[in-house]
């Protein structure tokens, strides 16, 4: 009979607080991850939107190519009409 009371005391005073402590720690850790993951998701979404302008790189590529072609044409003409330095 005494042992049963001791067992009850251990359950209520030791096991239950330990279980509650451990589970509360896990819950707090999980809850602390949530805002961080939401920030990551928001950053990834914003980064994806920022990269919408990468399509304009194709225009830039085309313009750079045309500019260099025009510069090459001018350079060729200058090479013809100007004397060399030496």
């Amino acid at each position: 009979m005494t042992l049963e009371w001791i067992g009850d005391a251990v359950l209520l005073l030791v096991v239950l607080p330990v279980v509650v402590y451990l589970l509360r720690g896990v819950l707090n850790a999980a809850n602390s991850i949530v805002p961080s993951v939401r920030q990551i998701a928001a950053a990834a979404t914003a980064g994806s939107k920022d990269l919408d302008a990468t399509a304009l790189l194709l225009t830039t590529q085309d313009q750079v190519q045309k500019t260099i072609e025009v510069a090459a044409d001018y350079g060729g003409s200058l090479d013809v009409i100007l004397d060399d330095a030496r």
């Binding site: 009850d8 209520l12 239950l16 991850i33 990269l51 194709l58």
Partner: protein
């Protein structure tokens, strides 16, 4: 049932309730994490997809720009010479001459002349374009232009000196009309004079028999025919 058994059952129930409460709360938190990670993955996939062609496009742009740099550097050095080319770059971008040209390692050791302090940009351009123009002959020993913004008057001083300080030495513009001192006879063919004009009141030149005007006119016609 003994009282100790009832207390034990209550204790076990309390433990189970605590387990249920905290585990359910943890499950809810993990579901939120999962949903947020799904959003993050969607964003990251978008980033990967959108940035996939960037490497190829940027490499292409860089290749074109490299070709442009090669072209312009080569042309500048070829036409202006290494020393003047370095001076031009230093004049437009102070301090850039120290880095030199990419394709001409010897340009790093070339001492840049202080071109921008000597000539205005326009004068410099004219000098570079017209190596046989009057400015190229007069400028090397001329005074430096110290006011590049308002140096046009001083720039005129680089040209052979007649008009700017001695305009009276210039030939007068021709006077036309029936009372003009020099009379021109109408020509039968454009560009060919019958004879050279004679100033009214001037002493008579050599007669045609002496081969004066006629001789020079024939020589002119001969040159014209040869041309």
């Amino acid at each position: 049932m003994p009282a100790a058994g009832v207390v034990m059952i209550i204790a076990v129930l309390l433990i189970v309730l605590a387990l249920v409460y905290y585990l359910v709360s943890t499950i809810v938190a993990l579901q939120r994490i999962t949903n947020s990670l799904d959003e993050a993955i969607t964003g990251v996939v978008g980033i990967i997809e959108k940035s996939a062609p960037v490497d190829e496009v940027v490499n292409s742009i860089n290749a074109n720009l490299d070709a442009g740099v090669d072209l312009l550097e080569g042309l500048l050095v070829k036409k202006a010479g290494m020393e003047d080319a370095v001076g031009l770059v230093e004049g437009l971008y102070p301090g850039a001459a120290g880095e030199g040209f990419r394709n001409f390692p010897e340009s790093k050791e070339t001492k840049a002349p202080r071109i921008s302090e000597v000539y205005t940009k326009g004068t410099l351009t004219l000098a570079r374009l017209g190596r046989e123009a009057p400015i190229a002959g007069a400028s090397p020993n001329g005074p430096a232009l110290r006011n590049p913004a308002y140096g046009s008057t001083a720039a005129r001083g680089l040209y052979p000196e007649v008009r700017q300080t001695r305009p009276a030495s210039l030939a007068r513009s021709p006077v036309i009309g029936t009372d003009s001192p020099v009379q021109y006879e109408p020509s039968e063919s454009p560009g060919v004079r019958k004879r050279m004009p004679v100033v009214v009141g001037a002493p008579a030149g050599p007669s045609p028999a002496e081969g004066g005007v006629v001789k020079s006119g024939l020589a002119f016609l001969r040159r014209l025919k040869n041309d």
